[in-house]
């Protein structure tokens, strides 16, 4: 068995607006290295809420969260930022590329923040990723000049640049047409197979989910199948 990358233990969360409402109830699961996991469920079942807790960005919950064997619960904002930088890659529904920077600089941004390698090594890593994702000719372009599918692939390259322990995605294909969705899914699959990359993708597209290694299905704040 591969090492456990991500582990949720008895996670609960409530919303208080307008009335107290349990969004997540006793969530327990693990993601192991190299797994390609999808989380599905109806709108409002809490799957996105869960993802943001797992991503360490949301700290308002009960229970315990471990990333790469280290307990995240109770850590300071600055420490969590460092964990996100090094261990977690994000792909959102919207691409969130910075228009002020070129594609290359967007990809390098988290790596420069981590600053564990020389500039030359980082560039090499970025070119390697661009090649793998088949978008090397876009390196010096501005994100504004890119199509939706291309932007999402750049966002994936950005998520990958620090060789994270896990990549999390919140409806990464939600904004894309059929053809681009296909490309993005293929990219994820390639990452899982070639780099043994762990992936945790929230989606409401059952077709997408069907093709992943493992499906976690949620309903009314609980995991009903995994």
């Amino acid at each position: 068995m591969n090492a456990v990358i991500l582990e949720a233990k008895h996670i609960y969360k409530q919303f208080y607006d307008p009335v107290k409402f349990d969004v997540l109830k006793d969530i327990n699961f693990q993601v192991r290295a190299g797994e390609f996991v999808s989380v599905i469920g109806k709108s409002g079942c809490g799957k996105s809420t869960l993802l943001y807790i797992l991503s360490t960005m949301d700290t308002d919950y009960q229970g315990e969260l471990l990333v790469d064997g280290v307990k995240m619960t109770g850590k300071k904002e600055k420490e969590l930022a460092a964990v996100r930088n090094e261990k977690i890659g994000f792909v959102f529904q919207f691409h969130y590329l910075l228009n002020e920077f070129s594609v290359m600089e967007n990809i390098l941004l988290p790596a420069r923040k981590l600053a564990k390698k020389t500039e030359a090594e980082l560039k090499e890593r970025a070119h390697f990723l661009l090649n793998k994702l088949d978008i090397s000719k876009l390196a010096e372009k501005n994100p504004r000049q890119l199509s939706g599918g291309e932007k999402q692939r750049v966002a994936i390259a950005r998520a990958m640049v620090n060789e994270p322990a896990i990549i999390m995605g919140d409806e990464p294909t939600g904004n894309l047409d059929k053809r681009n969705s296909e490309i993005v899914f293929a990219t994820f699959q390639q990452l899982a197979q070639e780099f043994n990359q762990s992936l945790l993708i929230v989606t409401h597209d059952p077709e997408f989910a069907e093709r992943t290694n493992r499906i976690i299905e949620m309903e009314d704040g609980r995991i009903i199948r995994q």
């Binding site: 919207f94 910075l98 002020e100 941004l109 988290p110 923040k113 600053a115």
Partner: protein
């Protein structure tokens, strides 16, 4: 590395909205320009006005005041020590205006390291005779070299040669107003009567204009020797010793010291001209107040632009945070943006301030009262540039402080889920 990255991101965000940035920077530039120009001009003017008096006034003046003796003989008598003394109708004693032992005092003062120099002087009231009209006036007997060196006498001689006072015997330099009354041009002879009733004829070698018209109507200058001759006094007769110090602020202390050591009246410039100090400081306060107000207004401009920028860049802030930038990093990015505007605007402002003040320095400014001044006075004091630069940084820092704090508190989950 982290700092470089943060500066790079701040720079990119600034450049992405360079027009807004420029407007904000121009606000700072404008206020710093006005701050520098205002202060340079205002203090230049202050210096000029003060110079009118201060250049011509000794820092410490030693003289003998005619007044009743503060210790009457009865008080010295041992037999009446424990008595209460009632002395009626006290008169000023037969004290002379002359400074006793003036030669030794001057020698001693000249050796003091705190003293820049000294100039002896005799003051005597006279009547100028013009036909049957008598005009009251004052003749100052001066050491023309010391007077020129310490009190810029030559600057105020508008006609004729100051040095002729020494070179031509029995010569006099008349105040401009006095010369006009006497219709006395250079080379003419004026007649004057001393308080003792002696009459003398002196040759006019120059006109003098101090800038203070009332004074110019009464005062005139002759060499010390000439005045001693008019008054029939010996050649050690001196009524005033004017002392100029290396540091004007030492004047009150030295005046006290001289008073004690030489047993002579000593007046310092601060006591003699306290109103000038007050005027100067009030004008300075006004200039600083206007300058700082301008900067604060510019600060609000920066605050607004940064606030807008934060709303515009919510997405960017969210993704920076999601990919591992902490709240502190985001805070530093926005502080850096504010400081960038401050540094750029401030430096340009300092340069523009210098240029504008040099421009004002070229504008002709001729007034009868100020013969030595031909253009508007500007004071190029580096201290103002330093203060201006520091203030531009401080105000922009505070203008950026609150927006930056707001940016650092942006919750990426709210932004990203809101889409």
């Amino acid at each position: 590395m982290n700092t470089r990255l943060i500066i790079q991101i701040a720079y990119s965000l600034l450049m992405a909205r360079w027009k807004q940035t420029l407007v904000a920077a121009i606000g700072v530039t404008f206020s710093i320009t006005m701050f520098i120009t205002l202060l340079s001009f205002m203090t230049g003017l202050n210096k000029l006005l003060d110079g009118l008096v201060i250049n011509r006034t000794p820092h410490v003046r030693l003289f003998n005041e005619i007044r009743p003796d503060s210790i009457q003989p009865i008080q010295k008598a041992p037999g009446y020590r424990s008595h209460y003394h009632m002395v009626r109708s006290i008169k000023s004693g037969n004290s002379r205006q002359e400074i006793y032992n003036s030669g030794a005092i001057m020698e001693r003062i000249a050796q003091d390291p705190r003293v820049l120099g000294l100039a002896p002087k005799i003051t005597t009231p006279v009547f100028f005779n013009e036909g049957n009209i008598e005009i009251t006036g004052v003749v100052y007997g001066i050491d023309i070299e010391a007077e020129s060196r310490l009190f810029f006498f030559t600057d105020y001689v508008v006609k004729g040669q100051a040095a002729d006072l020494k070179n031509v015997s029995n010569s006099i330099i008349l105040g401009k107003g006095l010369a006009d009354k006497l219709l006395a041009d250079i080379g003419d002879i004026v007649q004057l009567t001393t308080s003792q009733g002696e009459q003398f004829r002196l040759k006019v070698v120059g006109h003098f204009q101090s800038g203070l018209q009332e004074l110019d109507k009464t005062q005139s200058f002759a060499s010390i020797k000439t005045v001693q001759k008019i008054m029939g006094k010996a050649n050690n007769y001196i009524t005033d010793i004017q002392v100029k110090l290396t540091d004007i602020n030492q004047a009150p202390k030295l005046a006290k010291e001289f008073n004690k050591v030489f047993e002579i009246d000593a007046e310092d410039i601060q006591t003699a001209n306290s109103q000038f100090e007050t005027g100067t400081s009030v004008r300075n306060i006004i200039s600083y107040a206007v300058g700082i107000t301008l900067l604060v207004v510019a600060g609000f401009g920066i605050y607004n632009i940064l606030n807008m920028m934060i709303y515009e860049k919510m997405d960017s802030i969210a993704i920076l945070k999601a990919t591992g930038f902490s709240g502190k990093d985001v805070n530093r990015i926005f502080i850096m943006i504010a400081l960038g505007i401050g540094i750029f605007g401030g430096l340009t402002g300092l340069l523009m301030g210098y240029l504008l003040s040099s421009l004002i320095d070229q504008i002709p400014f001729n007034t009868a009262a100020l013969p030595t001044v031909t253009t508007y006075p500007i004071n190029y004091n580096p201290v103002y540039y330093f203060i201006g630069g520091a203030f531009s940084l401080i105000t922009t820092y505070f203008a950026g402080f609150f927006p930056a704090r707001k940016a650092s508190k942006v919750d990426p989950v709210v932004i990203i889920r809101g889409k």
